[in-house]
Amino acid sequence: MRLISFILLALAFMLTVNPVQASPVDTYEFHDEVTKIRFQALAKELRCPKCQNQNLADSNSPIAADLRKELYDLLQQGKADSEIVNFMVDRYGEFVLYRPRVSQLTYVLWFGPAVLILLAILVVIMIVRRKPVDKKDLALSSEQQDKLKKLLNDK
């Protein structure tokens, strides 16, 4: 009982305490809300080339700050999202995209899981539909019966 209340308390504690936000703070000003949201979305979609497990929004590395600045400038110039993404890919490669585009390189990545699931379903179907073994086949033939008797008698 005590254990349960302890666990509940711990859970409640975890839920109420907000995770510490350690993201870098930029002071970019946007004229409209839409551009601001696009900026935030793109900064999350684009990977920092130096610190490879962080996106541009998360990373404090100098290159990430530079790229955020570039992203801001491109947005101010009125570039479309696809143009900005192409701009980054042209310089840093497909790698900067957290959601890689569908191409020959990424077919396995995109379709591999679906293929695996299909295979698994196939295997399950095959196992389920396998004919149950006939009980009659399990019985010993008269020949085997004789042999068994002989072996037992030999003892």
Partner: protein, 182 residues
């Protein structure tokens, strides 16, 4: 067939083991450059030593051009520097510097202290050319062929071993291509 299926899990686990074991020796930081096969991005920047002198792509003369991205804030660049001084003596290549997001005075002092291996250094204070080249750190070295096409990007320090392994084969290949008139 039945026997083979029995061994299938073992075979799969072994295959997975091989793949993961190989992964241990791969460098996840190593990225292919998006610029290999493209021409050098155009630029117009001042040189490090002379604030009045503007240089552009046309000033990167030489059959095989090396552009080395460096900065005084980069400790690995200091390690690499003596090797660059050696490479600069090689008549097959022409070495240019790209001083990346640096302080002009400190960079000039650096070249005075440690000898200047570069024909000239481009002074890229804001990192604009660096951005166009997809530079994400220093040192990085680009190899540009006689058509002005980037053939290689190497991120990290050059030393004798790296030079032999990464650069010499490519340079031999480029010389051969030039001979054949490609």
């Amino acid at each position: 067939m039945g026997k083979l299926i029995r061994f299938l899990p073992l075979i799969l686990v072994l295959a997975l083991g091989v793949v993961l074991y190989r992964g241990l020796s791969l460098d996840p930081q190593e990225m292919p450059s998006a610029l290999v096969g493209k021409t050098m991005p155009s630029f117009a920047l001042k040189t490090l030593t002379d604030n009045d002198k503007l240089v552009t792509n046309a000033d990167l003369n030489g059959d095989i051009v090396l552009v080395n991205v460096w900065a005084t804030w980069c400790p690995t660049c200091k390690y690499e520097h003596p090797y660059l001084v050696d490479i600069a003596k090689d008549p097959q290549v022409t070495l240019y510097g790209l001083n990346y997001k640096d302080d002009r005075m400190a960079a000039q002092q650096w070249l005075q202290n440690y000898e200047d291996p570069y024909v000239f250094s481009i002074f890229d204070e804001k990192g604009t050319l660096g951005l166009d080249l997809g530079v994400y750190g220093a040192p990085e070295t680009f190899v540009i062929d006689h058509h002005g096409v980037i053939r290689k990007r190497f991120a990290g320090a050059i030393d004798t071993r790296v030079w032999r392994r990464e650069f010499e084969p490519l340079i031999a290949q480029l010389i051969e291509e030039k001979k054949q008139g490609k």
